[in-house]
């Protein structure tokens, strides 16, 4: 089993620990990740926010390269996943637009690639197989599984799990021996790309999510998106200062917790890169 691996810009910088832990976990599961050579940025929010065609042309170049590798694409970053998946869907639904982009850029994409998020890939592996790799069950861990926006929306494009009440990440956590909490903010938006330009909005939205996770009895949050993770983790002290509430919830990547449960070396999981230390909640594991 092999996937063409699309790390995207975040996994090479702010979310290095997501890259490290993804590689480690897929290696443990016996799935080879082959990085797409010379991949370019998917354009993220800014690409499609400013130009429909640019927002499609950027990810289409990566899809075309993956197609020449003859593999489906694994895109751990939720924003990258959404852009690649949207470009693939649009290429199939709007051949005239694809033709116009091909004429302008020379990019030829035949639509032969499936784009997967890590959650879709883990669901393909199956909970039983994941449980079979567990050496240190995450007993006592009560994660709030936070899916955010772009792993599941829009459902017509993503076609996976339930866009309003998803369970695929909860299933992974249960397979690892954790007890995910039931909570209502699984798919609320964290403010994502407004982090720099409208940080007051991001502080408000992350407060709502963090406070609800805490109220629901979680002792950590699990994310599968570098923007979600960064906003929830790095802005927590600002949230605490503004709202006068103690939060103190570590925000881990789903792959970091899988790596922990699989007993993989800590050095491969980048736990020390998190702003809120997970040491206390992981102490018994």
């Amino acid at each position: 089993m092999k996937y063409a691996y699309y790390p995207g810009c975040s996994l090479h910088s702010t979310a290095k620990e997501y890259d490290m832990s993804t590689r480690a976990v897929f290696n443990e599961l016996g799935i080879e990740l082959q990085e797409i050579p010379d991949w370019n940025c998917c354009g993220a929010t800014s690409g499609h926010a400013m130009s429909r065609e640019l927002g499609l042309a950027l990810p289409l170049r990566d899809l075309a390269t993956a197609e020449s590798m003859g593999m489906d694409v694994l895109a751990p970053c939720a924003a990258c996943f959404a852009r690649l998946k949207t470009a693939d869907t649009t290429a199939k639904d709007d051949p005239a637009l694809l033709q116009s982009i091909t004429e302008q850029t020379g990019i030829k994409y035949g639509g032969g690639v499936e784009v997967l998020s890590v959650l879709k890939a883990f669901s393909a592996v199956g909970a039983e197989e994941i449980a079979a790799h567990v050496k240190k069950p995450l007993t006592g861990l009560k994660p709030a599984c936070y899916y955010g926006c772009l792993l599941l929306r829009p459902p017509d494009v993503v076609q996976f799990d339930d866009a309003e009440n998803p369970t695929s990440m909860d299933d992974v956590m249960k397979a690892l021996g954790a007890e995910p909490v039931d909570w209502p903010h699984k798919t609320e938006c964290c403010g994502a790309s407004l982090a720099l330009s409208k940080s007051d909005i991001v502080v408000k939205l992350t407060h709502d999510i963090l406070a609800m996770a805490k109220k629901s009895g979680a002792n950590c949050i699990v994310a599968a998106c570098p923007l979600c993770q960064a906003n929830l983790d790095t802005r927590q002290d600002q949230v605490e200062a503004k709202y006068g509430e103690k939060i103190g919830l570590p925000v881990l990547y789903v792959t970091q917790l899988m790596g922990m449960a699989f007993g993989l070396p800590i050095s491969e999981l980048g736990l020390n890169k998190l702003m809120i230390s997970p040491d206390k909640v992981l102490a018994g594991i």
Binding site: H12, N40, C41, R52, Q104, T105, E188, L196, I201
Partner: protein, 188 residues
Amino acid sequence: MANAVASDRLTVTGNKDFQTEIEKLSGQNIASCYQCGECTAGCPVAYTADITPNQVTRLVQLGQADDVLKSSMIWLCVGCETCTTRCPRKVDLAKVMDALREVSVKRGIASGEPNVRTFHESFLSAVQRSGRVHEISMIGEYKLRSLDLFSDIFLGAKMFLKGKLAIMPSMIKNRDEMKKIFCTRKRS
């Protein structure tokens, strides 16, 4: 005075050119919106915007281009797709917001949220230059262009110390292809 504004607006109500332009660019049937307000109920940023998402579609239907294109709403929309997911009329409002932003830039209308536009421009200029985003250069460019020089300085320093910000940019080899790709962005 209020009557005068209302009658001004009535004179352009029959003009469907703007709605047609946005429908074509977004691929959405904006006429089908029946103003239930589901989009606004789920929108994470409507609480702080000048007009709400359902008002955006209504103003497009009424041909009120200026009111929509200068609004902060179209720039605060972060593309979370909650409205798109829940619309009972299957209007992909996130795509409509994309089209409105694109048209507002083409018409040279000042952004209702200048820093958000500056962020997007700084991000894309980083991609155009290297094919990938190098955070330190991108944030530097954003700060110089927005003159928002000192916010998040401590956060940036903490992230740097955690090794989360690469010092050297990562560049793709085939940067000529980026030039062609960026030609697809038509600015006028």
